[in-house]
Symmetry: D2
Subunit: 323 residues, 4 copies
């Protein structure tokens, strides 16, 4: 069996490391800031003081899982490690990298005999307990070498309907050649954007119905937390995202800790770009992305121009502010 | 020729009355508040002190043009006038009524022998000079009776490309039976919503490109007023709405008089309702309507829930406010 | 305990009846066509030959669950039963009725002392095994009377993450007064529309990537059934709808049994109508509905006009058909 | 005054050349296929047999207008001409190039002392008579040199409302540095996409209302050609695109020459890409693009999956084909 290291101990990197330790793996970890290393050492990992140190601790064939921000940080780590590793070793990019970067990275590493796997990793911080859904792109021999790790990271749980999974390991798929793992993860996240937007629209609607000032004819005093809780089980929309919504509403029915300004990461944008290039209508994804853009935009020049045109043709004044 | 009155002297009612006076029509006017009556009397109209007085001033066959808010105000006026008018008279609803109301109103009036025309009227306050685009629904005999009025209200202008109109009077169409005039006007306004939204998105985009903080790679210092002015002539998007945008930007390139909160009137909603009922995709109209709704909504519970779900699965914090 | 009947033995009515029989309830059933009655009688139910017969079989207080098409069939059944039942009895509308119909129906029944519950019922035909998610609107006393039935219909399953439900019975919520049950079900289905559309867009995209002719630069040979299977567990999008997608793809990776013409039922439309009326942007729901409309529309006059405009300004010819 | 040539005599190139000849310019023209050269020679131009011949015919400072397909054809021509021209000459890209290509091209030419102008050109083949709307990016000295040409190409017409243009030459704007001309043209075309989609949706709706089978409650027999004709004048949506729609409907009210498969060119996509990158919601543009994608897609795997999921949870069968 291969000797295993992790570089990058953010929230996701820590969860992966801890799940592997729980499953009895011998693990070497490195991170740029030392805090998370100490935390993992307490949990049983071997800490490294540098990338070179990390590599030196491992026995060939070495497998190192990178869990770093996409783009430059991942590129820099791959270059640095390419100079430290040996032919036969394996590098794994478990982050949210752009799938088109994988081919370039694999080619760079291949020159030194190092194999590259692009592993789309879903499950968030809950993966520590639930396991991670893994989408693995890259050469089969390298994936075989890392397989004991994948086996421990992938979920043990059965399907939500209690049936046995069809065929292989649950929550795990080998997607094909280099790049396909992150490609499939991109699509996964595009679906995630749309599902989240659908849920948000539904609860926006319920909140409006519960607020007499918005849905004027309506006197329902809906309890959003109880409704979300009910929808978690046996409904057609039962899903992990509805689970999370229910838990958030249980903790704070007003969600007063959140302003509603929503970040978007790369995958949703990448998928929409790709849809445009390939003439694939993606109205639901676009709606989800635009809603996030809108959530972060306070002033809109276009809207001011709309008001100006309405004033221009009809003398229409703007409606008063609601407050 | 019929004797002609107008009830309802808001911005549009005044513009219609003034255009008729300019064209030499003898005109009787009434309005609930007296101010606009005085104004029209100075311009040459005969003022009335009540609806009954208005009716008594007219000789049969009487034609009265209503230019009132849609819904109850129009219904109340129709009922009141139905009791004052005589068989052979004509009532014209020139407002933005819901087209499905026309059949009911026509039936109510028909019992008393009064004809009803539903006239979609476009052109805004500029109609005084430009003429009004008229979409006339209702019985032909009644429309013939009112024709001298229509002839004066409709535009004299040729098509923008300088060619003669095909066939009849410019800017004028008899659309068919009762209700069809407001139906066609509803669709006109639906197109208007979409065109305005398209123009607004374009200028939003130009404004972002002109603001270094938004389109970061971009150093263009675009002058939106000059661009809008150029687009008015010979471009594919040349249109009266672009004219209005150019004039607004010329007056105030920052549009600082406008907050960007945009009202919506009934027609856009009615058309979207109808599209839903009849399985006609209308994504552009929906986008335009939703953008207006969005412009008036400061807080969104759905967005807060989106943030809460992201915190739930990934520990993601909300991005900071831009200010 | 109340005596219990079901009227309406379509797919959903049968599943409800069978689940109640499995849980030991004594059950009386009626249906317009006799076939399903025979089937239920074999499973242990008492069959009725008419509505009057059904009512005569029950002891007061009688509870009858209607599982009929929304609109007229439900109205007719409610009127007929209102004349057969007695004060203190309860009628339950478990179908996909329009929530605004509930108040009218409840008032009609209240005159005869009959209570009315509007119960949004989710779970589809799988509810027989999984249980049904129930959203119960109407008076508490009536809901209490029916509670043993609700207890058997609601799911026994825990939340997908294996945790205990917060508080009450899983998959069950009392939503408030009359109409609120179907209102909440309408919103549930609106979310369902959006989630389904998101999943469909994602797999559309994967299918395009797997088809070299669409995503030309791409050589991935993605196995959609394996990907769907993996996403079922521990991914952020794990959900019952992804379960169903995975099962469909496992049975037939080409989905060749389906043409892709998608029906829409009332709830999605009702929610969009409501969103329009209440100025709530619902872009994701609109996208989902329009995609369904589009799926059923072969020819589009608007598209022909687009082509004609392009020919008009640029002499552009239409692209050739792909086949 | 500079000596002037045109390379690229497609529909747009011919219209530009003919307008210049009409305005008394001495003009040299070249095209890869000889047919259009002969046509222009008959109209008074000097024909060239090669790019080198074209250049040799011109006196310094030479100005050559390229009207070629975007991308490689334009790049190849620029490279070839850069080797034939001299310092002080000017190259003009009047095609629909991607605005980000302009900086690279200008830098390549600058090394040889050749100035580059990127000129967004709108107006279509009608520009011959109407004039062209020109959006000029690049250095002022070069634009000054070409100004007599711009003056002849720009429209003579006044604004549609008959007023004098504000300030400068109608239909003409200097947008700023290199790239800005095509950037502004991209936004222009984005607006065009949205406006066309809005008009198409409106007429789709009218066509449905005129077809009893679609809007079942409706008996209107709308004449779309007459309605379009009326909307051309004094309506809020009066525009050149409505003019084109009216003319197309006049020629063939059924538009039977068009299948409704709609091509999209680069600009709409580029603007949507840019909107995504810069977090600018562009729902109307996205709707227009997706409608075009949809118009060209006969089979949709995502829709098949939607049907499969509906079969999965509710046993729902697909609706029959309308034919």
């Amino acid at each position: 069996m291969a000797s295993f290291g992790i570089y990058g101990l953010g929230r996701m990197g820590q969860a992966i490391a801890l799940r592997l330790l729980r499953n009895g793996h011998r693990l070497h970890v490195y991170n740029r800031s030392p805090g998370p290393i100490d935390l993992l050492v307490q949990a049983g990992a071997q800490g490294a003081t540098s990338l070179a140190h990390l590599v030196s601790q491992l026995e060939a064939p070495r497998c190192i899982w990178l869990m770093l921000p996409a783009g430059e940080p991942t590129d820099e780590a791959l270059v640095a490690l390419s100079e430290l590793l040996s032919p036969g070793d394996v590098l794994i990019d478990g982050g949210n990298s752009y799938w088109k970067d994988a081919a370039r990275r694999a080619a760079m590493l291949e020159k030194r005999g190092i194999a590259f796997l692009d592993v789309g990793t879903s499950g968030g911080v809950h993966g520590l307990d639930r396991g991670f859904c893994l989408m693995v792109g890259g050469p089969a021999e390298a994936a075989d070498l890392v397989d004991p790790i994948f086996a421990s990271l992938a979920p043990a749980e059965l399907a939500p309907n209690g049936k046995e999974p069809h065929g292989n390991r649950p929550g795990f798929v080998r997607t094909g050649p280099c790049g396909s793992g992150h490609f499939v993860k991109m699509v996964h996240n595009g679906i995630e954007y749309g599902m989240m937007q659908s849920i948000a629209e539904g609860f926006e609607f319920l909140a409006a119905a519960a607020a007499p000032s918005r849905l004027a004819n309506e006197k329902f005093e809906l309890k959003l937390d109880e409704i979300a809780e009910a929808w978690r089980r046996s409904s057609v929309i039962s899903s992990w995202l509805v689970d999370l919504a229910a838990e958030a509403l249980l903790n704070d029915p007003q969600l007063s800790a959140f302003s509603g300004r929503i970040e978007d990461s790369g995958e949703g944008r990448w998928m929409l770009h790709e849809a445009i290039e390939n003439r694939i209508p993606a109205p639901s994804l676009a709606a989800a992305l635009f809603a996030r853009f809108e959530s972060r935009t306070d002033a809109r020049f276009g809207n001011q121009l709309l008001s100006a045109m309405r004033m221009g043709f009809g003398g229409h004044k703007e409606p008063p502010s609601p407050n």
